[in-house]
Amino acid sequence: MSMESPQPLTLPTRSRPRFGDLGLRTIAGSAAVVLTAIMVAIVYQVVREAHASIGQFGLGFLTDNEWNAVTNRFGALDLIWGTLYSSLLALLIAVPVAIAIGLYLSELAPSFLRTPVALMVELLAAIPSVVLGLWGILVLGPFLADHVEPFLGDNLGFIPLFSGTPSSHGMLPAVVVLTIMIVPIVASISRELFSSVPSDLKQGAMALGATRWEMVRSVAIPQVSGGLVAAVMLGFARAVGEAIAVSQVIGGTLNQSWSLFAPADTMAGRIASQYQGAATALQRSSLAYLAVILLVISLIANVSAQLISGRIQRRMGIRT
């Protein structure tokens, strides 16, 4: 996401555009129409699929924790729990790490290291989620179940987070995988943000005797805090929408347990595992209802991030 884009050049247009202009403008404009059509079609189609379930359950869908293909009663509460728990916990771990990496890449790293390290962080983002899921099932899950979870359970088992039987499929591997996915996104945006802090502000602080850390804390971070919020929102949206890697490691069970060892399920993961073979039409429609919820969350997160970054751009434009 680029934070700085110069204004497009707008030259005065002729009152009667020439044919070549008209031709290209129409073709290019039709691409914009295609884009709008795709966006509208996605929303329309998914809402239409969900129609039966929305009609049947309404907003109670969000507070009902039963998902039963036998009685044809479906509710998303446990799935919303699983989604929020896994995504927010992953955010909690990933955001400080990512901001630190962003700082490192923009301020602290020796310049010869910046490009290679930045490249590696980008490559982390490029790993396909199915490969992370494969690693999660066959390496991470067993490792956590055999070594980490028993240790945590034995020593810290009184904390609800670490209660329960160790399992290779569960919340903990899902959180680790999601963290790995969020870090590069937030890190690269943070780096751009920190790089864009006007150097006169930074140097001003240093000239007044601030240490590097004090400068970062009192000048850089407040300056980019809005952008960081936007970055966190994008990371959140990414985690919420991840279906494949999560469905491979999380264990596909409904529950509202705090335990990190217990298997759980997320909205996206449930769609991935059940959409194709739904036992009843209402189940298929309820899965589409989950997709609608995911769509709404991603729309809100993305639009908010856009608006925040737009405001920052304008503010920075005035500043410099």
Partner: protein, 350 residues
């Protein structure tokens, strides 16, 4: 600018050449690329019948020239796919429900394989072939029996030292015929299970971990100590899993051999009006019957543009194809079912 253009062109040319090479090589090795639609039958569904299907595919193509494409996406997916007419035939271990039958619009169910669903478990320090019964298994899946040294399990296995490992039930998270059969059996034995979980291709399991497809259940059981799951016999042998013996109504613990499954099939001779033949929990008179046996059904539309190919393939499957079964744990279909099948197959028209 010039170099960028040249580089870009080089990339494009390389890509095209690579694609052409791939297409060229496929012409030699692949069959689907060049065959016309009438020489291909596409099916999807049950993972229970998938091992048998993988034997039918090459053999049938050799004898008839028609390629069979089968996607083992689970019985639920198979029912969906044939209802939407996205495939030529569906495969399901669960018969169509009333709602599904209406949605499928004149579909026929043809039992074309006989199989058993077997509890697979992973318990270090314990022997193979532990004895269980429907009540104990139901309690495991309801969460009331939580460790392998529970008195109820000990009572069934006198003289066996059982570790205190926690029971970790595994179930199918996708729409599954195995789940249907498993939940039918447990619901028949345990009213508690029936009311709390129910019978379905997607029962409302409350305890345990979900896994997709029989292979996923096998993998999950294999990787977790104390896990118990359900798959058909072919996956037990293929993945060297431990399987439990299940007590039947007569009080015996038959191995899921072809003989025991055949005995279960022999105990049920009535075919339901919708074409299904439930075999779960045969009466006590069938002393050696395996209690969790099932037919697997091909689901085909009564009228189809590929009627003749379907008829030929289904006839092959219920006659010659059955020969591949016993090695994988599927006994051959009983004669009365084969007769019934031929009559149903005859109803497929265009």
């Amino acid at each position: 600018m010039q170099t960028a253009k040249r580089f870009g062109t080089a990339v494009l040319v390389t890509g095209v050449v690579a694609l052409a090479a791939a297409c060229g090589s496929s012409g030699g090795s692949g069959t689907s690329g060049g065959t016309s639609a009438s020489k291909v039958l596409v099916g999807a569904g049950s993972t229970l019948v998938a091992p048998l299907m993988s034997q039918w595919e090459p053999d049938y193509t050799k004898s008839s020239g028609v390629t069979i494409t089968y996607g083992a996406i689970g019985s639920g997916g198979g029912i969906d796919a044939i209802t939407a007419r996205q495939v030529d035939f569906g495969a399901s271990d669960a018969p169509l429900s009333a709602e599904q039958a209406t949605a499928c619009k004149d579909c026929l169910q043809v039992p074309w394989a006989l199989a058993a669903v077997v509890p697979a478990y992973n318990l270090s320090d314990a022997p193979d072939h532990l004895k269980l019964n429907g009540d104990v298994i139901a309690k495991m899946y309801l969460g009331t029996i939580t460790s392998w040294d529970d008195p109820a399990i000990k009572a069934l296995n006198p003289g066996v030292t059982l570790p205190s490992t926690a029971v970790a039930p595994v179930y199918r998270s996708d729409g599954s015929g195995d789940s249907y059969v498993w939940s039918s059996f447990l619901s028949a034995i345990s009213p508690d299970f029936k009311s709390k979980v129910g019978v379905s291709t997607q029962p409302a399991f409350t305890v345990g971990t979900g896994a997709e497809k029989s292979s996923g259940v096998a993998a999950s059981v294999q990787s977790t100590d104390g896990a118990i799951g359900y798959v058909t016999v072919a996956y037990i042998t293929a993945d060297a899993l431990h399987s439990a013996l299940v007590q039947n109504a007569a009080g015996n613990f038959p191995q899921p051999t072809t003989a025991a499954i055949t005995a279960a099939a022999a105990a049920v001779t009535t075919i339901q009006p919708d074409g299904s033949v439930p075999l779960v929990n045969p009466p006590a008179s069938a002393a050696d019957a395996y209690p969790i046996s099932t037919y697997s059904y091909a689901i085909v539309p009564k009228s189809s543009p590929k009627a003749s190919q379907l008829k030929a393939f289904l006839t092959y499957a219920v006659t010659t194809g059955q020969g591949f079964g016993p090695d994988l744990g599927y006994p051959g279909l009983p004669d009365n079912i084969v007769t019934h099948d031929k009559q149903v197959i005859g109803q497929i028209g265009s």
